[in-house]
């Protein structure tokens, strides 16, 4: 009964106590001063109203309206991709200097290693673009658009293992349970297309072994219709969406209306946000019945566009396929499109592993940026490419030409961003000669999140949700906007 009353009055216990303390205090003071206690009642209602209202519109003029996040799960090696370190070739096989190693945390997987020999990158580098930026030979397509990219070489995270590091990057906290970026934005800014969810997630197949948990696209304590809608890799992107044969769409509509009435009746009594989510989701599914087949149908894409994304583009579930889907969703103004590609966790046989991972992702990532640009969408679409941490400059296990690998390394890694108001052609941040420690312009995950919010017109310190007696932000109590990344 208590729970019921609580919901009915839309008031939680702490606010009730605070309210009554203020109220009683106000009454006492009022009788002392000989006036009535109305002003204090006003304060109580204000406290209740100030809580948890979505932003609706951004705090200030946004540079980006949508985000496409190409998450490279597993921890891509910065030394083989964007952070060129000639010293590693010179000192191949030598022990990493103690001053470089420092007191950095190393994972349990290499903790018992008796030696930490530096490993030269399993590739060569060449200069690209007007600034002569060094980019790995493994990613020629990405290198060809380097003038459109903003490469950050000085990323730093707090986590050393996959699951907590992914959750940390997505939600700002290492434990699952908080809302991820996509959910925050869906909740805060709302939808730009009422026929599609504002947060869509796609996983690519054929990557690798490390799984990814759906906690990474959870809405946490935000209303659950803001969680990421996961597109499946088969024929139907969303299961059970189609109306079965023999059922008329109008019958579906009538059934939905009937159920909705019941839900609304129940909601009037209980005011449970999850009932509202249920109503929202059923309506969204109904509208998606028309929108999704249109999105998923690639038959009207001209051949030269398909060729840009690579040979896998027509294979559902491939990274290339998801990239072209991401572009189609961005064209439809979906707020946050989250891709996950697995298979960057190269503890051993890095040379062949990274060759496979780059082959799967390089062409399509670059094609996505080019395709968005030619359609005029890159101006207000922020594309992010990056993983949850970097990799060690020393070898995990024995240093052999083919067999060597690299372990997890939270102390320095590289990502890139494009469009959406970031500075094109910029290379930001600097690591030491071993790509092991950041020496200049450190960008912590919270700084990255704050900057992302800023590009979407949100002040990350003012975008707050209160639950369980505490106020939460994506960046919680940290994060500085890196203004130098912004054009």
């Amino acid at each position: 009964m208590h729970e019921y009353l609580k919901l009915k009055y839309q008031q939680n216990r702490r606010d009730f106590l605070r309210g009554s303390a203020l109220g009683l205090g106000g009454i006492a003071l009022g009788s002392l001063l000989g006036c009535n206690s109305k002003p204090s009642q006003k304060i109580i209602s204000q406290i209740l109203e100030e809580q948890n209202v979505p932003l609706g519109s951004p705090h200030f003029l946004p540079k980006a309206k949508r985000v496409i996040y190409l998450f490279q799960s597993g921890g891509p090696s910065q030394m083989e991709l964007f952070d060129y370190k000639p010293k590693l070739y010179e000192m191949h096989g030598q022990e990493i200097p103690a001053s470089v190693m420092g007191k950095n945390r190393i994972s349990g997987m290499v903790n018992n290693q008796y030696a930490f020999p530096l490993a030269k990158p399993a590739t060569n580098f060449s200069q690209f673009g007007t600034n002569g930026t060094y980019v790995s030979d493994l990613i020629p397509h990405t290198a060809s658009i380097i003038d459109d990219l903003c490469v950050v070489r000085s990323m730093v995270t707090d986590q050393i293992n996959h699951e907590p590091a992914v959750i940390f990057t997505q939600t700002g906290n290492q434990l699952s349970g908080r809302p991820c970026m996509g959910s925050w934005l869906s909740y805060g800014l709302g939808s730009m297309n009422e026929n599609l969810p504002s947060f869509i997630v796609m996983l690519s197949k054929g990557g690798g072994d490390q799984p990814i948990s759906s906690a990474a696209w959870s809405s946490g304590f935000l209303p659950s219709h803001h969680q990421g809608v996961q597109f499946m890799t088969g024929k139907d992107p969303i299961l059970y969406l189609n109306t079965p044969d023999g059922i008329d769409r109008m019958d579906r509509r009538r059934a939905l209306d009937f159920i909705k009435n019941f839900n609304q009746l129940q909601n009037e009594n209980l005011h449970d946000p999850e009932i509202e989510s249920q109503i929202n989701q059923a309506e969204m599914a109904y509208r998606m019945q028309l929108a999704i087949p249109d999105i998923a149908d690639l038959s009207n894409e001209p051949q030269h566009i398909l060729d840009m994304y690579g040979e896998d583009v027509l294979v559902p579930g491939s990274f290339a396929h998801n990239c072209i889907m991401a572009r189609r969703l961005a064209e439809k103004d979906v707020r946050f499109i989250q891709l996950y590609h697995l298979g960057w966790d190269h503890h051993g046989a890095l040379a062949s592993g990274i060759k496979r991972a780059t082959k799967q992702t390089d062409q399509a990532s670059a094609a996505l940026v080019k395709d968005l640009k030619q359609r005029g969408l890159l101006d207000d679409t922020l594309v992010i490419w990056g993983g949850e941490f970097g990799r060690t400059s020393f070898s995990q296990g024995k240093l052999t030409p083919e067999g060597f690998g690299r372990d997890h390394h939270p102390g320095a890694y590289s990502i890139w961003m494009a469009g959406g108001g970031v500075q094109p052609g910029l290379v930001y941040g600097e690591t030491d000669d071993f790509a092991h420690n950041v020496v200049n312009d450190k960008v912590h995950v919270h700084d990255f999140q704050a900057t992302l919010m800023h590009l979407l017109g949100i002040d990350h310190e003012k975008f707050i949700f209160k639950t369980q007696g505490r106020r939460y932000r994506l960046t919680d109590v940290s994060g500085n906007v890196i203004h130098n990344l912004i054009a």
């Binding site: 519109s57 946004p62 103004d333 359609r375 005029g376």
Partner: protein, 450 residues
């Protein structure tokens, strides 16, 4: 190591003997006036007070080994502390062994008087060390001090240029920074690391590790090095938990040292330098992106509802701003007649997305009242070359997307764009490389994506 650590508890423990001794003294007075007997309690109070006095004096001595305090104040505090301990011990001996003596009362009273006086002295000296000698004095010059502090990078960037030039760089910018973030621990009374930052001479004199700065060489300057260390590093300054210098403040001090750490230089000279100019100007006090349009009233919600009924999405571009973003994303069937309704937004409309709708040249002609359109997307509509003359009336445009329309080189040649225009998207049209080359000759600074 461990002794210093124990010493750090001195400021905590020191309050025990003060409280206990004063409380015992109050009991003595009550006993004297009211004849109530507190003898037992007074004896216990005296003994415990004495023990804690000795313990905290010892801790204080250990703490003083750390160094970095004003020597004169420290010596006074230390001697007074030992004297207090001595008289406390004397009082305990008198109370325990000479309570039957004829002189006991006189001895007791005089010892208590000495102890209370010394106690206040010790407390005062100690307080002066931690809070500064002028902590308890009424500062009548506080008004002047405020003016000095009120100058900061933000406030200077708000000044008109000619006033900015008059500001003394050291007094106006550098000293207030040091005062706010460093001088609390590096002053004449509390010189941590034997370093004082209160004047340029003392900064140059430096501390335990040598001069705090090397003029014209910021990278070799100890204070700069310490500021730039990772905040987690023990040697980082200001120490963990104290108010930190932010990036632009560090940049400013860095610049000042790099340019000779001059004390008489006016900002006028400094402003000739790009680093400082940028620092003072926009780059370092990042302004939020704004539209270069005047303030306007919010759009009437009735107008927004009218447009919503057509399936159009209308939203203010930011909270509390009267300019709106209109998207026809969910209104693929929007025709010219319906689109005419959009013109009720007139000057409030800044971002307009009509891509993939059924709008034609005529529909664009109806929107002539929307003068402030900055971003216009008419991709994949049936617009043709005749629409260009109509597009030219949007004089504020900075983004135009005509992807997938049937506009040709002739149309592109007729397009007139203002200086504010940034990017034109004309991929997948009938425009050819030749047309683009012609366009680039007319508008070399505009980004054209073809």
């Amino acid at each position: 190591m461990i002794t210093e650590f124990i010493g750090h508890f001195h400021p905590l423990v020191v309050h025990l003997p003060i409280g206990i001794l004063i409380f015992t003294f109050i009991l003595e007075i009550i006993q004297l006036k009211s004849k109530t007997k507190f003898d037992q309690a007074i004896l216990i109070g005296t003994i415990i007070g004495t023990v804690f006095a000795i313990v905290s004096a010892t801790m204080g001595w250990l703490l003083s080994l750390d160094g970095g305090y004003d020597e004169k104040l420290l010596n006074n505090h230390q001697y007074a502390g030992w004297i207090l301990c001595f008289f406390c011990i004397l009082l305990v001996i008198v109370k325990m062994f000479f309570s039957a003596n004829v002189y006991f009362d006189k001895l007791n009273k005089s010892l208590w008087s000495i102890i209370i006086i010394v106690l206040f002295l010790v407390g005062h000296f100690g307080g002066s060390i931690t809070h500064g000698a002028d902590y308890l004095s009424l500062d009548l010059s506080a008004g002047n001090k405020e003016v000095k502090k009120a100058l900061s990078i933000d406030s200077i960037s708000a000044l008109p240029t000619e006033k900015q030039a008059q500001v003394n760089t050291y007094e106006g910018l550098i000293y207030p920074l040091l005062d706010a973030k460093c001088i609390q621990c590096h002053n004449s009374e509390k010189k941590k690391g034997n370093l004082q930052l209160t004047s340029i001479d003392l900064i140059l004199k430096g501390g335990k590790k040598g001069p705090a700065l090397t003029a014209y060489n910021a990278n070799q300057s100890l204070m700069i090095q310490r500021m730039l260390l990772d905040p987690a590093n023990d040697k980082h300054m200001p120490p963990k938990g104290k108010p930190q210098l932010n990036n632009k403040e560090i940049n400013l001090i860095y610049w000042w040292v790099q340019h000779g750490a001059l004390v008489n230089d006016k900002l006028g000279n400094a402003l000739l330098n790009d680093t400082v100019k940028n620092l003072i100007a926009s780059k370092i006090v990042p302004a939020f992106p704004t539209l270069s349009l005047p303030q306007t009233s919010l759009v009437d919600s009735n107008k927004i509802n009218t447009l919503k009924q057509l399936g159009l999405i209308v939203q203010p571009i930011a909270k509390g701003i009267g300019y709106v973003d209109l998207s026809a994303m969910n209104a693929a069937l929007l025709n010219d007649v319906q689109a005419q309704k959009i013109s009720i937004l007139d000057s409030h409309l800044v971002w307009l997305n009509l891509a993939n709708t059924k709008i034609t040249n005529k529909g664009i002609a109806n929107l002539s009242s929307c003068k402030n359109v900055i971003k216009l997307n008419v991709a994949y509509t049936s617009l043709n070359d005749d629409a260009i003359g109509l597009l030219n009336q949007f004089t504020k445009l900075s983004y135009l997307n005509i992807v997938g329309t049937s506009i040709t080189d002739n149309g592109l040649a007729k397009l007139n764009l203002s200086n504010n225009f940034k990017s034109l998207y004309c991929w997948n049209t009938k425009i050819t490389q030749g047309g683009v080359d012609q366009f680039k000759k007319r508008y070399p600074n505009i980004q054209i994506n073809f």
